[in-house]
Symmetry: C2
Subunit: 563 residues, 2 copies
């Protein structure tokens, strides 16, 4: 058998995130009235990259892309679904976690990016439970190890079959010399409140814990014998469904296929366009505002063509595509184009319809997509020019940026399509619904510890702010005029691409999240950073490291020095 | 000039943390009434390890060991000091931060350990400001870069000389491809509330920011022209002193030299003994309780011989010694020996005298020392045996452990010096004063999310709890009896030493800090983990990395892939 190292996966094909249930290879989605069931039944031969078999319901990025799609579709296409059961279609095994051969053969960046996406999908499950009235139930009908148990941890309620062989476990440390990569440690301590010494013991015991002890230690909520299994799962799912706020008799909104064309130097959707400059290591992303007034009511908006939903889906897909497929393009420059008033009008329709299930879904989806941007390891720059529409929800792109530039005045060279100066407009969308993973809005985070600054800005809501004003208020970083504009943006992006990409990633991961921490920021900040470090160490990924030696019959050789 | 890589420092000599002002090479401590001045004047030839010169007031571990000593002595030996000015004895330069040649030549573990200690010393400065009535003032009388600015950031008030050349800066990212390693990013955003985009800009601009802009951006509190410098520093120091709670006319307690003997397999102090088992990778640490009743009053206790102070100093020195000099001894097993009642009596004297400056200092010192244990990258195990005194303050050692074992019953083999079963006693010291860096006590952290469990335990205060009771209450992990005792502890420690040391470090860094995060936990958890990762990446530490190439005239070569 070749050593894992020799099969180091190339991942040369572009990874595609667009999928739909009829093309799933690993999951079955059945929606039957208020309870949907997501059955994991991984196709061993269905790996995204050659070189490994997805045995024992282990997963790779491709499996998780389908799961992400299913969670999204349940929210938009199935308003009638009030609880979701995740279970396994294989006997005796719920899920063995991320495929180890895949991990061992993957380059560092691939591992990190893969973990980030699976983390986001797990957070999405918790977001659906908390904010969509779709509570997730893990029906762990066989052993759940590593990422398999982490999938269960993302669910509201965990049931484990009590059959003297099924267990939950986090065997990453004893078997692979790494940490659980998808929030496991944080959820064990901060969500399930497992006592730290028991958590420590549990995470070093590769065979895990089952039965009553798993309940006693809070690792699962209940252990149910096989004879009562199906009935109890149905009962619990019905209980969760009965607490849901989902509407009665609403029709779903079908997430129609995204229109996307990709060439070597551009990715284009209907509302979003990305131009890739490989020499400069930069992507110029342009987002178009709505072309028309919003529908008269939210009832008339229920469609995948509704601009806020359409643009969010495109942004989401673009972020995932660039993050996975274009790791060398380290700086993303955001521009917008269109009418600020129309953006605000669409925001207003959403915000005034917040009680409506569909408006609620669109807002939370936009929130999650912006959070995906926050944890993206690329430098983000906003260029606010005449003709742009950085207002309300789209202003969040500028607030998410590491730096923003707003043109003072107009471009003198007159091929610009407007002679009105660039403005930004703060709207209601910036003041509450679109929280970051730290629980604060981007505006609150920006003015963390500066209440006077925050108040001064909030007072100017709905005012079109030109560059000097916006800079004085602290809403943009710099306000160069026409003479300096190109030069300043060029220097900023060139300088960025001259720096260590790793140091930039660490800098941004720290500065983007001032203030409080939540389970989500702990997962992305604390746990992920430790995992990245461990993934990168010879004790895990060196030729004699535990991750590479797993399954070879040879023990890992460790440098015993504690760091 | 040899490349930094070729001079990779050996650090073979044992690092000694015991020092005193008469032996300082790099600092001058002058205490003149209520205002003390700490002047940094680094001896270029005084590096701890050959191979680098400490130019421009740059520092290595040896410089920081002296600073730590000075901060400690100011608290204990100088009750009259109410504010402390940190300034530079060199013209035009305040401090250039950690010595880059030293960093470039140091192995990964040394860099990480060095940063941890400097972090702890900076936190100690903030602790003195917050809890000792000794507020620190950074009188930045020349450029402060990197760790030099981070030293200023740890002070309550930062004054920068306004002379058109002096600036504060964090040039780590643009010059070295790493992050500021001593809390810089976190303090800039979470303590000084510098806006995130300005912080981003500042941290990529190697020349830094000075004058009015530094004030405007909140990087410093004031910029003062040279002619008014001395007067203004004196004025601010007097203002800070006037707000202090320090006593009038108290006599200091001299921190007399610690008695310590070290051989190849043991380190011994008066109350603490460590036996080093290199084959097993383990240290057995034994702490003796007090031999006598406490003094009748805190006034009679004022001496370095007072047991709580003496034992804390010994533990502190031992932790630092083992952490730095014995990285391969990955598991520390704590035992205690003595009378639980006498430990509680000493606690009681301290806690009932909390308003007294000396009692206050001892309590905060113990708090800091236990925090040092919490962030130590070693597996911590407590073995609670008959004759032990895990009560009150010493019970914190068991609560700090990753796992604890308490013997059920007694040892049958009768060479044990007692036939009373082992007990633990929860005291007032466990319920408030000795907080972890997350702001909670170890008991609160242990029962995070389990209020009922916490209440059940708190009710049993002052009760001697035998093993089964303690295990049922969740105060210890396991309660084996005589038959299983040796075997269980042996397996636990052997197993520990078979695991990846890196994965253990990451696991422990996560599980030890359930619940809320503070600036301190963000520095040790989030920022440090990112920095460790970056330090370890070829872009920083590889032969062509920025840290290794600095000063060679060659530019770093980066792998541009964003991770």
């Amino acid at each position: 058998m070749p050593q894992a190292a020799e099969t180091e996966a190339a991942h040369t094909e572009r990874v595609e995130f667009r999928v739909s249930p009829d093309r799933y290879r690993h999951w079955k989605l059945s929606a039957d009235g208020p309870v949907a069931t997501l059955t994991m039944d991984v196709d061993e031969q269905g790996g995204l990259v050659p070189g490994y078999e997805l045995k024992l319901n282990s997963y790779d990025l491709g499996v998780d892309i389908e799961l992400y799609d299913a969670v999204q579709r349940l929210r938009f296409e199935h308003p009638e679904v009030r609880s979701v059961v995740i279970t396994s279609g294989k006997p005796k095994i719920f899920c063995a976690g991320a495929n180890i051969r895949m991990l061992a053969a993957s380059p560092h960046g691939w591992k990190v990016n893969f973990c980030k996406f699976t983390n986001e999908t797990r957070n999405g499950i918790e977001d659906a439970t908390a904010n969509s009235g779709q509570a997730y139930l893990a029906a762990v009908n066989g052993t759940a190890s590593g990422g398999g148990y982490e999938l269960a941890l993302a669910c509201e309620h965990i049931m484990l079959v009590d059959d003297r062989s099924s267990a939950v476990s986090l065997p990453e440390l004893p078997l692979l010399g790494v940490l659980p990569g998808t929030g496991g440690l944080t959820r064990v301590s901060d969500k399930r409140h497992v006592r730290r010494d028991l958590a420590d013991y549990f995470s070093t015991k590769s065979e895990g814990v089952g039965g009553k002890k798993a309940v006693q230690w809070r690792l699962v909520d209940e252990a149910v014998p096989r004879p009562r299994w199906d009935d109890t799962v149905a009962e619990r799912a019905a209980e969760l469904a009965s607490r849901s706020s989902r509407p009665q008799d609403a029709a779903g909104v079908v997430l129609t296929p995204l229109t996307k064309t990709a060439t070597d130097d551009a990715i284009r959707y209907d509302h979003v366009e990305a131009r890739l400059d490989r020499d400069a290591g930069r992507v110029d992303i342009s987002v178009k505002g709505p072309q028309n007034d919003p529908p008269a009511s939210i009832d008339e908006a229920r469609s995948a063509d509704f601009w806020p939903l359409a643009v969010t889906r495109e942004l989401d897909d673009l972020i995932l595509d660039l993050r996975t497929n274009e790791p060398e393009l380290g700086t993303w420059v955001f521009r917008t184009e269109g009418s600020p008033a129309l953006v605000l009008a669409h925001d207003e329709l959403l915000l005034s319809s917040k009680e409506d299930w569909f408006a609620n879904e669109v807002l939370h989806y936009l929130k999650r997509t912006l959070r995906r941007l926050d944890v993206t390891s690329r430098s983000l720059i906003a260029a606010i020019e005449p003709g742009s529409c950085f207002a309300g929800s789209l202003l969040e792109l500028a607030l998410a940026a590491d730096r923003s530039f707003q043109l003072a005045g107009v471009f003198e060279a007159a091929d610009s399509n407007t002679d009105e100066p660039a403005t930004i407009i703060l709207g209601e969308a910036n003041l509450g619904p679109l929280t970051m993973s730290n629980g604060l809005t981007r505006l609150q985070t920006r003015f963390w510890g500066d209440e006077a600054g925050y108040e001064a800005v909030a007072k100017r809501k709905n005012e079109a702010l030109e560059a000097e004003d916006a800079a004085d208020l602290g809403l943009v970083t710099f306000a160069p005029d026409d003479i300096d504009w190109d030069e300043e943006i060029r220097i900023a992006t060139e300088e960025r691409s001259s720096f260590s990409p790793d140091a930039l990633t660490g800098l941004e991961a720290n500065y983007r999240f001032a203030g409080p921490e939540t389970m989500e920021t702990k997962i992305f900040g604390r746990l992920t950073a430790w995992q990245n470090w461990i993934f990168n160490r010879p004790n895990a990924s060196g030729p004699d490291g535990a991750l590479r030696r797993f399954g070879t019959g040879q023990r890992a050789v460790f440098d015993r020095k504690r760091v």
